[in-house]
């Protein structure tokens, strides 16, 4: 469904990605793990069109999307939950969700979408009139995910959804990610530093190290891999 090949990305003279190739099959949960600064966020930003690759291709459903601007990419059904949530703090929860559906032509009949995200995250419904900046960290993450779902994506990319969230909530959020994948058939590309959790819920995993894919395998195999164990799973 989504395929990156030999992607190289710079920030000015700083090389962030040297050579990244990965493949996300339709309907799967694929995870991209790696240490801080490995280039995980850069990869997602490039797919979303926020950054332009120096070379390499991004193909989505068989078409090259590497040169499209961000709004065209959302239009095609790829949406991203950015690192640090990036909710619109001065807008209400409802308005944030409406922003998620910004490109929807049929904006007056979004009730199905609202019902749907409120069903996954009932807490947002109670707070729909609240200004989003006043939500707790966990609620903001729920909002960020819901907002990304409002555009009815076929591929959802999440950048460190566990960042800055209490472990118990992290668990809930990961369960929701699985639910989104299974009940809606949305393909998921999950970027995580918390490799344990990510490999638990995903089908396939890639390990990124300083801008290069170090290894990739089925998630269960990666969890058993000695190198992954010592470097990313806390040696357990």
């Amino acid at each position: 469904m989504l395929e990156l090949s030999n992607l190289a990305v710079n920030y000015g003279s700083i090389i962030a990605l040297h050579d990244v190739s990965l493949k996300v099959e339709k309907g799967a949960i694929v995870t991209l793990i790696g240490a801080n600064g490995a280039g995980k966020s850069t990869t997602l930003r490039t797919v979303s069109g926020l950054l332009k690759a120096r070379h390499g291709n991004i193909r989505y459903e068989g078409e090259e999307i590497g040169n499209l601007p961000p709004h065209r990419i959302v239009e095609r059904g790829i949406s991203q939950v950015p690192e640090g949530r990036m909710i619109f703090a001065n807008l209400t929860v409802r308005e944030n969700l409406l922003m998620g559906a910004y490109l929807r032509k049929d904006r007056h009949k979004l009730s199905a979408e609202f019902d749907f995200v409120f069903e996954i995250f009932p807490r947002l419904k109670e707070r729909s009139r609240q200004v989003a900046g006043t939500l707790s960290g966990g609620e903001q993450q729920m909002l960020a995910i819901s907002r990304a779902l409002m555009s009815r994506p076929r591929c959802l990319m999440l950048d460190e959804p566990s960042l800055g969230i209490a472990p118990i909530l992290t668990k809930t959020i990961f369960e929701k990610i699985v639910e989104i994948n299974q009940s809606l058939g949305i393909t998921i590309l999950l970027v995580e530093q918390n490799a344990n959790l990510a490999l638990e819920i995903s089908h396939y995993g890639y390990v990124l190290e300083t801008g290069r894919i170090l290894l990739h395998d089925r998630s269960s195999a990666l969890r058993a891999n000695e190198r992954v164990k010592s470097a990313y799973l806390g040696g357990r």
Partner: protein
């Protein structure tokens, strides 16, 4: 102070305040969405005034008989369109290429745009003061007792209120307004939602240019003039780095200009460009 004087000053204050409100609105809108101070704000405003100046004698004669009241409206709308176009063009040519650069770069470019418009204006329109054509008869409204409210004051006030209401509606209630608020809060996230940033920013510029020009060409009975006074020029030559206060000063002077009630004041004004706010108030007639 008598109570008549008090209410008179209140009215004067409101009509001047409405004017400041529009200028402030333009500044804060660009600042709010793009986080930079658009120094060229006052200059687009000046162009608006000159559009009004040149369009009025050409357009007004076409509106005769029952159509007379539509004349000023036509001038206003055409001026708005021209200024919207100018605003969008400035953004596209000068600011957009610098979107990813440090804000200071854009700021300095804005000063450049401002100087360009100012001296370009002097070149094209000349530096002499011109008296603004009468778009509508300026007379005191009857039935206000000892207070003087002129039709011009009233019209300007109404225009301001309409624009404020329209802008509030756009920003608070429409999809594009929501995109503007989202963009100002987090441009990256807005792009990830599918907001075409270029379109929204162009629209913001068009919108403000519209209210700038609305005021620039709104009915009034005073003079307009392009560029700096001698005194001011000397000053800015010495202290170019104080451009910010200078631009504010420019705007204030424009404000002063637009609110002068008698032509002879313009001469005085040109002789002495001291901060004019104290003279903007019409004293009791």
């Amino acid at each position: 102070m008598t109570s008549t004087e008090f209410f008179q000053q209140l009215i004067n204050g409101l009509s001047l305040g409405a004017f400041y409100a529009l200028i402030a609105l333009g500044y804060t809108m660009v600042y709010g969405v793009l986080r930079f101070i658009n120094f060229a704000h006052g200059d687009v405003f000046m162009i608006g005034a000159f559009c009004g100046y040149y369009l009025s004698p050409r357009l007004l004669p076409h509106f005769t008989g029952g159509l007379t009241p539509l004349g000023p409206v036509a001038v206003l709308i055409l001026t708005m369109l021209i200024c919207a176009l100018l605003g969008v063009t400035i953004e596209k040519l000068a600011y957009r290429p610098l979107r990813q650069r440090p804000k200071l770069t854009v700021l300095i470019t804005a000063i450049g745009v401002s100087l360009f418009l100012e001296y370009g204006g002097q070149f094209v329109f000349g530096a002499d003061p011109k008296s603004f054509p009468e778009l509508m008869p300026d007379r005191a409204i009857a039935g206000t007792g000892a207070l003087t409210i002129t039709t011009t004051q009233l019209a300007a006030f109404i225009v301001t209120i309409c624009l404020l209401v329209a802008l509030t509606f756009i920003v608070k209630r429409t999809r594009l307004g929501m995109a503007m608020r989202a963009l100002s809060n987090n441009p990256t996230a807005a792009a990830l939602m599918g907001v075409n940033i270029d379109v929204v920013i162009s629209f913001t510029f068009a919108q403000l240019s519209i209210d700038r020009s609305a005021y620039g060409s709104s009915p009034r009975d005073q003079g307009i003039r392009c560029g700096c006074s001698r005194r001011h020029r000397k000053h800015s030559g010495r202290r170019r780095w104080r451009n910010y206060s200078r631009r504010c000063g420019d705007i204030c002077r424009w404000l002063g200009f637009f609110n002068l009630s008698r032509r002879d004041r313009i001469l005085a004004f040109n002789r002495d460009f001291a901060f004019p706010s104290s003279r903007n108030f019409r004293t009791c007639a």
